[in-house]
């Protein structure tokens, strides 16, 4: 079979006219430009929001604004009770959420035997001795329980925060608080009303998935070799977790806690029915006191004010403080995470 020789004459000239070049470039550049526009829109929006708040709010910041209570029907004075309330709320929430979240993650990651349900089931059924069989079915139950917990954690993260608020009102305030009152206070209203304790617990429920997921990630990042080294020396599983795994995972766990705090600090809906007050003449000092909260204060200033023009600067100032608080917490979280990464890289 013969191959026809290639003809030397080109099918088209390489030279394009100026207009053609322009048109080609134009057709190429327009979609790219649209993509860039879409992303710059986000940046612009954030810039406008932050710029506007900073511009209008910065003048409002003063020692007096940060350290005094609102006066004259919220049209004068500062926001100290709201800052105090938010900090107290977030501390209580952390005390509740971190231990439970860490405990859950440690259980799921360190103590659930295997993960293969079909295998565990087959093995339990194949066991000859009743004792092995019992242990085998125990493992199956444990795996099922762990799966249910993981599913619950994932779904918890998707529940709208207002639902948490309503749940907190129904469960914590009315059921738990009401029961405490009936049992210990002769039905007198003590714990069965919105309070900082119930608001903190509701918020803890909301931020629990954040703590669990980040702790789980931190535990997974602990090298298997370290666990094995510890166990091979005759350490128990618990000693291994306590002395080796948890210290190694601690920065990751702290990051999770801080992310949870910064998430919780900005939420209004969960505390709306469970403890936040419109105005309080005193600072909360007991667990069943109500409290003022920055996010809720913003909502009040913007909707419930008797004199909108006079409240506006206060509103800007409050929003700026809330944003600064949340950003600062996020920044600390990121800082810790990068330090951990550097440490991990230094080791390998």
């Amino acid at each position: 079979m013969t191959v026809a020789p290639r003809t030397e004459s080109p099918s088209a000239s390489l030279i394009a006219s100026r207009w053609e070049i322009f048109w080609e470039r134009f057709r190429e550049q327009v979609p790219i430009g649209l993509l860039a526009l879409a992303s710059s829109l986000i940046v612009a929006m954030l810039g406008i929001i932050l710029g506007n708040i900073a511009w209008n709010g910065i003048g409002q910041l003063s020692w007096e604004f940060l350290t005094t209570a609102p006066r004259a029907g919220m049209t004068e004075g500062g926001i100290f009770p709201a800052i105090f309330g938010t900090v107290a709320l977030v501390i209580l929430m952390t005390i509740a959420a971190v231990p439970i979240g860490v405990a859950t993650a440690v259980y799921l990651r360190e103590f659930v035997p295997g993960s293969n349900l079909a295998y565990a089931w087959a093995r339990a059924r194949a066991a000859r001795r009743w004792r092995e069989r019992l242990i085998g079915f125990g493992h199956v139950v444990e795996i099922l329980f762990a799966r249910a917990t993981r599913a619950a954690v994932n779904n918890l993260a998707g529940v709208p925060s207002i639902v948490f608020g309503l749940f907190g009102l129904g469960f914590f305030v009315q059921f738990i608080g009401g029961s405490i009152d009936r049992l210990f206070y002769g039905g007198e209203l003590t714990y069965g009303q919105p309070a900082i304790l119930w608001a903190a617990l509701t918020l803890a429920l909301l931020t629990l998935p954040v703590v669990i997921v980040s702790t789980d990630e931190a535990l997974r990042a602990v090298p298997r070799e370290l666990r094995e080294a510890s166990l091979a020396l005759g350490a128990t599983r618990w000693q291994t977790i306590w002395h080796i795994v948890l210290p190694e995972a601690l920065p990751g766990i702290l990051t999770g806690a801080i992310l949870a705090v910064s998430r919780g600090a900005g939420e209004v809906a969960p505390v709306l029915f469970t403890g936040a007050a419109y105005f309080l003449p005193y600072l909360p000092s007991r667990l069943n006191d109500q409290f003022m909260e920055l996010g809720y204060h913003v909502f009040i200033l913007s909707t419930q004010s008797p004199d909108v023009e006079k409240t506006k600067p206060l509103l800007y100032g409050t929003v700026l403080v809330l944003l600064a608080l949340t950003f600062a917490l996020n920044a600390v979280g990121v800082l810790i995470r990068t330090r951990v990464r550097r440490r991990l890289r230094a080791r390998s």
Binding site: G114, A118, S230, A346
Partner: protein, 276 residues
């Protein structure tokens, strides 16, 4: 679904019992018809083997032959891998370590292990060695702790290099030093058996030589079982060698005999580099 009963019945051939005359030497670890499964896959086929006391026994064979699995079975490190299962017995001084009543924590204190990749804890050099003593409650006071740490570091031939920086991070040591630290850490709890999983595979020739000298020295007090990829190393450091192939024990003999006059064709092919 996995059917275990079918797996159990598929033993194709009887285990090759080693016809070695180990009767002259006391046996420390006796492996009897031991099989191991990852899920439904059988990776060890009825291994029967005895490890003599105060001797170095090498486990050799191509990748995936099951030598590391066998090693990790001796201190039940494989228990940590989910969905695995063991059959048969492994006796430590006549006691079956797979008996349901065995406390694995006690077992692992008597059977120490050094891993392929050096894995010091992210703590100081001192704390690394002290860890096993602390968690097992083996020392009563600070002075005793310091003595045991020094003793272990000396045994691992590391003391002179680190005595001035005991309280610096162990991660600052070189690879070879880290591996000797891991040996010191394992020795601190005074185990009877020392399992070494390719302890020199990540080290340069000089560090490797140090580890090998150390193994020869430690033999006097410990029963040593070493997994190695490196056949020259097996020939240099071990008294006995077991050759594993695809989960079967092919041959077990004195190292000298196994390397010079192998009885099995498979062993000879492997040693001469025809496969593996």
């Amino acid at each position: 679904m996995v059917k275990f009963d079918t797996i159990r019945e598929t033993t194709r051939e009887p285990a090759r019992a080693p016809d070695l005359q180990t009767t002259s030497l006391p046996v420390k670890v006796q492996v009897e018809r031991f099989s191991f499964y990852y899920g439904a896959v059988r990776v060890l086929h009825e291994i029967t083997l005895s490890f003599p006391r105060n001797q170095v026994t090498a486990l050799i064979g191509p990748s995936g032959c099951g030598k590391t699995t066998l090693l990790r079975a001796i201190n039940r490190m494989n228990d940590l891998i989910p969905d695995t299962r063991a059959e048969g017995r492994i006796l430590l001084d006549g006691e079956n370590i797979y008996d349901p009543q065995v406390d694995v924590v006690r077992l692992r204190r008597r059977v120490g292990m050094v891993f392929q990749r050096s894995n010091p804890f992210p703590k100081t050099i001192f704390e690394n060695v002290a860890y096993g003593l602390r968690v097992n409650g083996l020392v009563r006071n600070r002075r005793e702790l310091q003595e045991r740490v020094e003793e272990s570091l000396r045994q691992a031939a590391l003391w002179d290099e680190v005595k001035d920086r005991l309280h610096e991070s162990a991660l600052a040591l070189s690879g070879g030093q880290q591996q000797r630290l891991c040996i010191a850490r394992a020795l601190a709890v005074r185990p009877e058996v020392l399992l070494l999983d390719e302890p020199a595979s990540a080290l340069d020739p000089i560090a490797t030589e140090k580890i090998e000298e150390l193994i020869a020295e430690l033999k006097r007090h410990y029963t040593i079982i070493i997994v190695t990829h490196n056949m020259q190393q097996a020939a240099r450091v071990s008294d006995y060698t077991a050759f594993l192939w695809m989960g079967h024990l092919v041959e077990f003999n004195q190292t000298e005999k196994l390397f010079t006059v192998p009885r099995e064709k498979l062993t000879e092919d492997y040693l001469t580099g025809r496969f593996g």
